[in-house]
Amino acid sequence: MRILVVEDEADLLRSIAQALREEGYAVDTAANGEDGLFNAESNDYDAIVLDVMMPKMDGWEMLARLRKTKKTPVLMLTARDQSRDRVRGLDTGADDYVVKPFDLPELFARLRALIRRSAGQTRNVIEIGEVSIDVAARQVARAGESVSLTAREYALLEYLALHRGELVTRTALYEHLFDENDSTMSNLLDVHVSNLRKKLGAEFVSTRRGHGYCIE
């Protein structure tokens, strides 16, 4: 999953980005509303963490403009906690609203919920055949036994599982699994897919030659 964090407070931005990356997300950053909007419109993010009080363009405005073209889930992050601010945020198009200072685990859980919801999933556990994926705990089990996956492998699995039944193009995978700081090397993707097949079963991930991958 690829997340965009828009926050003008440098220390905080760095902190959130690092924490998310350690969670296994690909993270892009922006320090003001203008850059944030540009990024959000140019790329397909799985979720956006958006601060409200920013120079050049504040969070309200960025969100309003974004919503004209994109349905990306947005979690607003702000020090303004009044009910009317929350109402405004949610009505402008945010999907969730978190007040600073926030508890990091809570932020993660809300992001997971956002992503899950936008994929149409209601539970935190996805079961495909004998494979069960606990999205909250980031753990995978096959026939009851725990399977160890690298962060990238897990990210790939999670993405394909959440878009189960859909054909996911390689391009989409590049977009959603790697952030702007990663160098895109196409072999990497194939390696991860083949590793998944090794660990979870050869038929687990189907390939549509020339188009992409899919989990049935």
């Binding site: 003008d8 407070e9 220390d11 905080l12 760095r14 902190s15 959130i16 690092q18 924490a19 350690e22 003001n32 009080m53 920013m54 120079p55 504040d58 020090a79 303004r80 007040v99 600073k100 200072p101 926030f102 508890d103 990091l104 685990p105």
Partner: protein, 507 residues
């Protein structure tokens, strides 16, 4: 709770007004009624007395006719001249009886005494309530008595038995005896002539008059009291409105205002003054709440940094370098919070007047020069040149605090300046005050922002730029105003800004 004594209602203005008003009204009505009654009574009695006088005089003249005809009678004592002109001369046959006894005969104790017809007509002896007479000789021997004279009439010795001869009869003051009014004349020889009448009817009438006056008076009193009560209520109502609104305001609802229909009366003006006071209170409270909320707000962000940094760092095992980074982030955030809290406390103390300003003479220009020296590294860093050439500016105040103000202005001037811009510090000494100006060639402040630059937490852009919480100018303003001075700003967007401080030269 005060004890509800039975007299606690006396604390009410309305009641006190009512009682005083009632007392005055009672006094006035009583006085008026009493006077009216007395006048009427006097009039009634005078009329009766006149009649009695006439009759007594007539009697006396029949006793001593030759004495009574003469100019010696003191003027005004008309009864001695016979029946008054107003009385119609009795008609009738000439007296049947013989002449009245002569004085000598009287002296001899004759019981024969007949009134000639004219005089007899004055006494209707058939009327028990009519005029009657009794005549005694000097020694108390009864000479004559009208048949309708009450049995209770008795002789009383005249007070001055020795009358000088030659003078007319001496009237005694009229007496009221029970239900009778009597007048007594003492003739020179010493006979007592008494004429009287039952005044029962008059007394009855007077009694009725008294009752009438009393009841009318009582009616007026009640009306007056009722009217007074109504008036007092009307006058008091605005006070109750005011009191009601004040109670609500004291309970916390600062949006209440006194609603009175009157605007011009004394109470109306009081209500207007109170309303404007309440409005100021409400504004002050709202500003206070806003300030507190903004303050809490500002602290949230650095706190957020610390929390996220700490939680992330503790998520997993990290290298020493990573821990150091995280801790340094935390430290920066904590310092920022510390500075913010210091500023907030200073503002709070300045607001509460708890920050006593020193009152020492010093040269503001020298302070300015010192501040410029201290800030020169920052200026160099930003390639900004500072020119400082104020004249001697003697003033009174707290040099440390004012240096804080100057530094704040200089910092802003440098921060918002263009590359290779200029900052000018100059001043002017006037009579009673000194001026210090700090001008820059910076980006300027837009017209819509200009009135708000001194507001707390106000920043030209709505974000946090490099830890500036927006309190510097607010604090500067508070300090300058605590000295009895003024701070003002003018700006041309794009070309620059000028801040001016005016301070009094005397405390």
């Amino acid at each position: 709770m005060k004890d509800a004594s039975p007299f606690s209602f006396l604390n009410s203005i309305r009641w006190r007004l009512q009682i005083w008003y009632g007392l005055i009204l009672v006094a006035v009505l009583a006085g008026f009624g009493f006077t009216a009654f007395q006048l009427e009574r006097g009039r009634v009695f005078r009329r009766v007395d006149d009649e009695l006088q006439r009759r007594a005089g007539a009697l006396a003249s029949t006793l001593h006719p030759h004495r009574n005809r003469g100019p010696q009678g003191p003027p005004g004592q008309r009864p001695f001249d016979g029946p008054p002109e107003e009385q119609p001369l009795p008609e009738g046959p000439p007296p049947e009886r013989g002449e009245n006894p002569s004085p000598d005969q009287l002296a001899r104790g004759s019981r024969e005494f007949h009134l000639p017809p004219p005089q007899a007509a004055l006494f209707d002896e058939t009327d028990t309530n009519g005029f009657y007479y009794v005549i005694w000789r000097r020694d108390g021997h009864e000479l004559a008595r009208s048949t309708n004279a009450p049995a209770s009439v008795s002789f009383s010795a005249p007070p001055h038995p020795d009358q000088p001869a030659g003078e007319g009869p001496h009237p005694q003051p009229p007496q009221t005896r029970g239900a009778f009014r009597e007048i007594t004349l003492i003739t020179p020889p010493g006979e007592t002539v008494l004429a009287g009448r039952s005044i029962a009817r008059e007394l009855n009438d007077l009694h009725r008059t008294a009752l009438l006056l009393s009841s009318v008076g009582a009616g007026i009193l009640l009306l007056g009291l009722a009217g007074g009560w109504w008036l007092a209520s009307r006058a008091i109502r605005p006070i109750e409105d005011i009191s009601g609104a004040a109670v609500k305001i004291a309970a916390g609802d600062l949006s209440q205002r006194i609603d009175t229909a009157e605007t011009e009366s004394e109470l109306g003006r009081l209500a207007a003054v109170l309303n404007s006071t309440f409005a100021r209170l409400e504004t002050a409270f709202a500003q206070q709440q806003q300030f507190t909320s903004d303050a809490a707000h500002e602290l949230r962000t650095p706190l957020s940094v610390m929390l996220t940094q700490a939680q992330t760092a503790l998520n997993r095992e990290r290298s020493a370098a990573e821990y150091r980074d995280a801790l340094e982030s935390c430290q920066r955030a904590a310092q920022r919070m510390r500075r913010l809290i210091e500023s907030l406390l200073e503002l709070a103390r300045l607001d509460a007047g708890q920050q006593p300003m020193k009152h020492l003479r010093f040269d503001l220009a020298q302070s300015a020069r010192d501040c410029v020296t201290l800030i020169s590294p920052l200026a160099e860093e930003r390639h900004v040149r500072i020119f400082c050439d104020p004249p001697k500016l003697d003033c009174v105040g707290d040099s440390e605090r004012l240096a804080q103000v100057i530094t704040n202005l200089l910092t802003n001037a440098i921060a918002y300046n263009k590359e290779n811009g200029e900052v000018r510090v100059s001043g002017e000494a006037g009579n009673g005050s000194v001026l210090l100006t700090v001008s820059d060639t910076g980006v300027g402040i837009s017209g819509e922002n200009l009135p708000h630059v001194f507001d707390r937490f106000y920043r030209a852009d709505a974000a946090r730029t490099s830890g500036n919480a927006g309190l510097g100018l607010a604090i500067s303003k508070a300090i300058v105003e605590a000295h009895g001075g003024e701070i003002s700003v003018s700006s041309q967007p794009g070309s620059g800004t000028v801040f001016t401080i005016r301070l009094p030269t005397e405390a």
